[in-house]
Amino acid sequence: MHMSDALVSPSIAASMWVATAGASALSARALRRRPDDRRVPLMGVLGAFVFAAQLVNFAIPGTGSSGHLCGGVLLAILLGPSAALLVMASVLAVQALLFADGGLLALGCNIFNLGVLASFVAYPFVFAPIAGARPSRARLAVATVLSSVVALQLGSLAIVVETLLSRRASISLGTFLLLMQPIHLAIGVIEGLITTFLVLFIRNARPELAPGSREATVSGPWARRVGTGVLMATVVVAGALSWFASSAPDGLEWSLARASVGVPAEPEVPRGILARIGEATGLSPGEGPMNRGRPADAAGRAWPQVDPSVSFSGLAGAALTLALGGLLAAGLRGVRRGTRPASRP
């Protein structure tokens, strides 16, 4: 499941972008240190494979529902964590750009949730220690299923945390966790099983690519260090930003807006006009929470205040804006049609 632009606040999006960019830069550097010219096309087509594999919806036995591969753990097993992260980042970027899955602002969150957590937490801390250097079939299966479950549980937990810290939705922590974690446990087990099938299939057909052959043993400790570092950095950055955000009643954005316009933040001009309308129509003017979100309430006014005049002018203005937008688009289209060469259909 993808985190969405509609639910993320700039401060959380920024911290996740920083964490993701850091992990990607470290991964890119690690790949540069060990050049392998076969890897470029291999990463490219494996990314396309994960993308294409997500189109296969398979039936989940006994439930009547269906699931698909996410691919984070599979990529880490086949390519090693650093290449896997970059492949996953490219898959998610294309999904955000072409399929509107997630979004560009939330892309940092999504690469972190589905890429960094799988490559630098689930793989080095769960898969590598269980599988070891030369895993048997059973060991490989257990390691794959467990690391997939851990990756998906951490991923959905990250979505919950990011959504709650962004404060764009009022759903409570308990409800959200109950909604997300159990379903992702099921998805994780299924993901683990299908990944196991694929890994064992490849081990039979192309043993040189299977785990235990090269990167799994080489990159375990390195990936653990990166994972720990990135996680700690993320907690620090996100913690600092959300502390700053929560010190203002309506979040970091509110304080930024305040800082940019200067004090007072409440616009004086519309209030004056509104006050006059209020007097003229007999409706009392007030501070519209519709405009500012939950106000600071420094004066101890009861919140919320229902203010018909503010609601009315807001709604009427919104309708006018929409009409203007439609006119703008239609007008520009008309101009384009007029100037377009005649040869084009």
Binding site: V56, L98, A318, L332
Partner: protein, 273 residues
């Protein structure tokens, strides 16, 4: 329509996006870096509004509307894709009206609660940010966007990876669609394969993928590839590109600091009343 047919249809839609980006429109002529920066500023502005904001977000719709109109992008594919995407945001947003019942304003006899405002806000943010991202690709193309990313010092391995992925996306999705069609023809009672079947089916595709990677590598080596992919696409910023970024960013800032629809409403109806 079987799943395989659905995938083939989706791929042809995807291919149309690239054709759109190749068209010679005023928006397609804007430097990809300028579009990238402006879209990023747009997304940050949209996300920065408070939870209950609805009306102040509306003027921001001008950006996707202008891209749509001046970029000659048909509305159909954009709306189709927005409707198709699994809307996690919409799901979370749908809880809002039940969770937050604080009255916020009145619309005649109907009292609007904070939950409904929040839901509307989430839907609006979703529409704005998703359409902006889709329009960025539809008016720029992934190749040019990747060149812009390389200019912004995104690690080259990631840019090359993005281009490779995009190049083989179509090839491998076709391959998966063929496998699914073969499965559907042989087991008409099971529209989606069971997990064990899906495992070996994907395994076969993965095997072919790895062999393809080897062939590509050999082909690249024959053409002189020695570990370094050279990206060459001249990027040339003109004054109009700088103006594009500056004008839009000023407009976004204006939208952020003042509620334009409300000002418009008070101005128009204030005079009338």
């Amino acid at each position: 329509m079987t799943r395989a047919d659905g995938i083939t249809a989706a791929l042809s839609h995807l291919g149309r996006f690239d054709e759109l980006a190749g068209a010679n429109t005023p928006i397609a002529r804007v430097d990809p870096r300028a579009k990238l920066v402006t879209t990023a500023a747009f997304l940050v502005t949209v996300a920065s509004f408070g939870r209950l904001e609805v009306s102040a977000l509306l003027p921001l719709g001008a950006y996707p509307l202008v891209l749509l109109a001046l970029g000659d992008v048909p509305l159909g594919p954009i709306v189709w894709r927005m409707a198709l995407v699994s809307p996690f945001a919409v799901l979370v947003g749908a809880f809002e009206p039940f969770l937050d019942r604080q009255p916020l304003g009145s619309l005649g006899p109907i009292v609007v609660t904070a939950g409904w405002a929040s839901f509307a806000s989430i839907l609006l943010r979703f529409a704005l940010s998703v359409s902006a991202a889709l329009l960025l690709v539809a008016t720029t193309g992934l190749d040019a966007a990747a060149a812009a990313l390389a200019w912004f010092k995104v690690p080259k391995v990631l840019v090359v990876q993005l281009l490779f992925l995009y190049r083989y996306l179509f090839v491998l999705s076709e391959e998966v669609a063929r496998s699914l069609r073969a499965h559907a023809l042989r087991s008409p009672n099971h529209p989606s394969p069971r997990i064990r079947v899906a495992g070996s089916m994907l395994g076969q595709v993965l095997l072919r993928t790895l062999e393809r990677a080897q062939r590509i590598h050999v082909a690249m080596a024959c053409r002189g590839f020695a570990g370094q992919v050279r990206l060459r696409r001249p990027l040339r910023a003109r004054l109009s590109d700088i103006a594009f970024v500056a004008c839009w960013c000023t407009y976004f800032a204006l939208c952020r600091v003042s509620n334009l629809p409300r000002l418009l409403g008070t101005a128009v109806f204030g005079v009338a009343g």
